[in-house]
């Protein structure tokens, strides 16, 4: 049991003593705090040193002396708002928890080093982000360069965890896998290299621990995998064995009640998926999560109002594009056609519908440059997808629909 003195005011020697004690008592959690930028000690000017190597060497054994020295140099860099330097220091820190078992190390790095790994890898990603922002403001650097390098380091850590085949599952580094995978997902999504997620998904799916990780980690994991599945099949949802709806729904339901921001984020992706399946959100839900951008879209789709849909998509274009859902929302046009044509059917009250009627309906919706051939194709697609039961007679220029339930409910059509 260690006494935790007020971290913001301690001296460098007191700090180092704390670290030493944490190492000696194998207190991975406390050691992680002493190396984490979420912890108040990083604001302590007495620890923000540009060359703490000698002091660290006096108190700590290798390799901890160098690891902690790098951490302290990092606090100095952050205090000076130099995130590029901070990132460089952090890369030095991160290499230690990722060292494999072949090195003769103090036992801390065999047991309970996971909290340390989590803390330092998280900071690595954050600093990579900040460093990139800083460089971009100066007109230097390319988006993704530093994040990609950070990802490489995280992958090394991941590999160490994944290959931990020692007995004693409680201490196994395999428990670190999902945390690291989530960190990597965040990077890959940011730098738009989604294909790099694939081997990670495979690794987790084939792991026997996959359902035993913490709920928070699983929620994050399912969120990213669900999002990736949305883009994977290039929107031909359902061809992939991963159902985006299942994954994102899980994520939404199990994310912590109090975390409105997370729930909203998940909803941004879950809503389009559900809408494609014919499940429209209520305005109440949209208001609750501050997602009224979807309200007009929802209304347009339900009513079969293509004009309103196009207007809604244009009006909130920036938001939808930034979230990366603009494309999938465009897919809603097919559902909208279906709803519009259903109205035509109800209006004409016959099961032999002239194709021209649909053309008129589309023109009323101010759909540009559409002709009768394209109408036939839209109808053919709806029939193919099962949204309409019937057939087109080109000779008679008519759509002949089934007398029974020609427009099956959207939810029944896979």
């Amino acid at each position: 049991p260690s006494s935790r003195i007020k971290m913001a005011h301690i001296t460098i020697n007191q700090y180092l003593q704390q670290v030493l004690e944490a190492i000696d008592t194998r207190d991975g959690v406390f050691c992680a705090e002493l190396l984490s930028f979420k912890h108040p000690h990083v604001a302590n000017p007495r620890l923000q040193l540009s060359s703490p190597e000698d002091k660290c060497q006096q108190v700590l054994e290798p390799p901890y002396d160098e690891m902690v020295a790098a951490h302290l140099r990092c606090t100095y860099a952050v205090a000076n708002h130099d995130f590029v330097e901070a990132y460089k220091c952090q890369t030095v820190v991160v290499q230690y928890p990722s060292l494999g078992g072949s090195v003769q190390l103090n036992h801390l790095f065999f047991f309970r080093a996971l909290p340390v790994m989590f803390a330092v890898t998280l900071d690595l990603r954050i600093f990579a982000n900040n460093a990139e922002q800083q460089l971009l403001k100066k007109g230097k650097g390319k988006v993704g360069d530093m994040l990609e390098k950070a990802a490489e380091q995280l992958m090394s850590c991941f590999r160490v965890c994944a290959s931990d085949n020692r007995a004693g599952i409680d201490d196994s580094k395999k428990w670190g896998m999902l945390f690291l995978v989530n960190q990597l997902f965040k990077i890959y999504f940011k730098i738009n290299k989604l294909h790099l997620c694939k081997p990670l998904i495979r690794a987790i799916d084939s792991s026997n621990l996959k359902d035993d990780y913490s709920m928070a980690q699983r929620v994050t994991y399912k969120y990213y995998v669900g999002r990736k599945a949305m883009f994977d099949s290039d929107f031909k949802l359902g061809l992939n064995h991963i159902s985006p709806e299942d994954y994102l729904s899980f994520s939404f339901q199990h994310s912590h009640r109090s975390c409105q921001r997370n729930k909203r984020l998940i909803l941004i992706y879950l809503l389009p998926v559900k809408m494609l399946l014919g499940h429209m959100p209520t305005n109440q839900l949209l208001r609750k999560y501050d997602l009224l951008q979807f309200a007009d879209v929802t209304k347009a789709v339900s009513e079969g109002n293509l004009l309103l849909l196009n207007e809604a998509l244009t009006k909130h274009e920036t938001f939808f594009i930034r979230c990366g859902i603009f494309l999938i929302l465009e897919k809603l046009k097919i559902i909208t056609y279906r709803n519009l044509f259903k109205k035509v059917y109800h209006l004409l009250k016959t099961h032999q519908l002239p194709l021209d009627a649909f053309l008129v309906a589309l023109k009323m919706m101010q759909v540009e440059e559409v002709d009768i051939d394209e109408v036939q194709c839209i109808l053919a697609n709806l029939i193919y997808m099962g949204h309409i039961k019937g057939y087109i007679s080109h000779q008679h220029q008519k759509l002949v629909v089934s007398k029974q339930n020609p427009f099956p409910p959207l939810s029944s059509v896979s």
Binding site: P62, K331, I378
Partner: protein, 364 residues
């Protein structure tokens, strides 16, 4: 307690500093010819000149001589112990651009060099070497863009021109890999500064990568001036038709593409036509109904004889002037005889009077 001597923090810091220093000394080429003198001598002595590089009159000598005005540095795989950074072996940006011009005007566009598969292989390799020089010297800027633009146009043109050639003469997968690499690099260059042909290439990228959500997302995030330019708007509209699964609309819009855009889209045309037949097989599935072949030919942008052939290949019943669609009889598998190359009329019409040189340098 054990002593760890590996991965010392101090050494890492020094390594970081060292790295920073070496990044200042990027190789700068001084070779003013299309082929470095050293390589030219070597290949001459080893009888490894390409027949396009040989001095006229010496072709049948025991050791043909190199024509300095026609010898071009070849691509060589980086290897351990091989120093690819010697200044005398590297060509500076203006020489690289001159080299590309030569390859386009004198080789690719030549009316006398045959067969074009051999022309392609030579130009492909030599362009690859140009890119290699650019990478080693970390060249960016207008020459880089000019080189990449011509390379992309060349590879796109080749993907159409050599469509249907046997694998040993033309590998469309390899062509595709290099095309994607060049496109990515080019689009990366476009992130900074103004570029005259950016709209053209954003559109080509969209068309070539039809169906790719990432390609569309990339374009959606571009500034309005590019996004709203005519070529990009047309490419986006074609992409939308694809996503909405309306091949009739897609093929109709495709008629508005120019020749090079057509080349970019070309590999998607046959699958698109196939999809149309699939959708119509389901949408028009009725024993009592007939669909006129001529109409089908119109919407497929194919001659009626080829339309009939395509239908038969997919199990669609063809009877005189009509076809009968039936969802049960449509078959996915395409018979061997029907190749994309037979269906190039749409593109041939677009090519008309364009010379290869026009196509690769870009018609103004």
């Amino acid at each position: 307690r054990s002593h760890c001597t590996r991965g010392g923090g101090r050494r890492q810091k020094q390594r970081c500093e060292g790295e920073a220093k070496s990044s200042v000394s990027v190789p700068r080429g001084t070779c003013m010819t299309m082929c470095p003198a050293y390589e030219l001598r070597q290949r001459e002595l080893q009888n490894r000149l390409h027949r396009f590089e040989v001095l006229t009159g010496t072709e049948h000598d025991r050791l043909p001589r190199a024509d300095v005005s026609r010898t071009v540095k070849e691509y060589s795989r980086p290897a351990a112990g091989k120093d690819s950074t010697r200044a005398t072996d590297l060509r500076p940006p203006d020489i690289l651009l001159k080299t590309v011009y030569y390859l386009v005007d004198d080789i690719a566009a030549s009316s006398t060099l045959h067969p074009w598969t051999e022309v392609y292989s030579f130009v492909f390799d030599r362009l690859r070497s140009v890119r290699q020089d650019m990478i080693i010297q970390r060249i960016s800027g207008p020459e880089c863009v000019a080189v990449l633009e011509r390379t992309v146009r060349f590879l796109l043109f080749a993907s159409y021109r050599l469509c249907g050639q046997p694998l040993r003469l033309f590998d469309s997968c390899i062509n595709d890999t290099h095309l994607q690499e060049c496109l990515s690099w080019l689009l990366e260059c476009y992130r900074e500064g103004q570029h005259q042909h950016q709209e053209e290439f954003q559109a080509l990228s969209l068309l070539y990568n039809l169906g790719s959500a990432q390609a569309v997302q990339h374009v959606l995030e571009l500034p309005g001036s590019v996004r709203l330019s005519p070529p990009v708007r047309l490419a986006l509209a074609i992409g939308r038709a694809y996503v909405e699964r309306n091949p009739v609309r897609l093929l109709r819009l495709a008629r508005r593409l120019d020749f090079l855009q057509g080349c970019a889209l070309h590999r998607h045309l046959l699958p698109c036509r196939r999809d149309l037949l699939l959708l119509y097989s389901h949408g028009h599935s009725s024993r009592n109904c007939r669909f006129p072949i001529q109409k089908l030919a119109d919407i497929l942008s194919l001659e009626s004889s080829l339309t009939a052939q395509l239908c038969r290949a997919h199990g669609i019943h063809v009877g005189g002037e009509w076809v009968i669609f039936s969802k049960g009889s449509f078959t996915e598998s395409l018979s061997e005889e029907l190749q994309c190359a037979q269906m190039h009329r749409l593109l041939e019409d677009k090519q008309q009077d364009l010379t290869v040189s026009d196509i690769i340098h870009g018609v103004a």
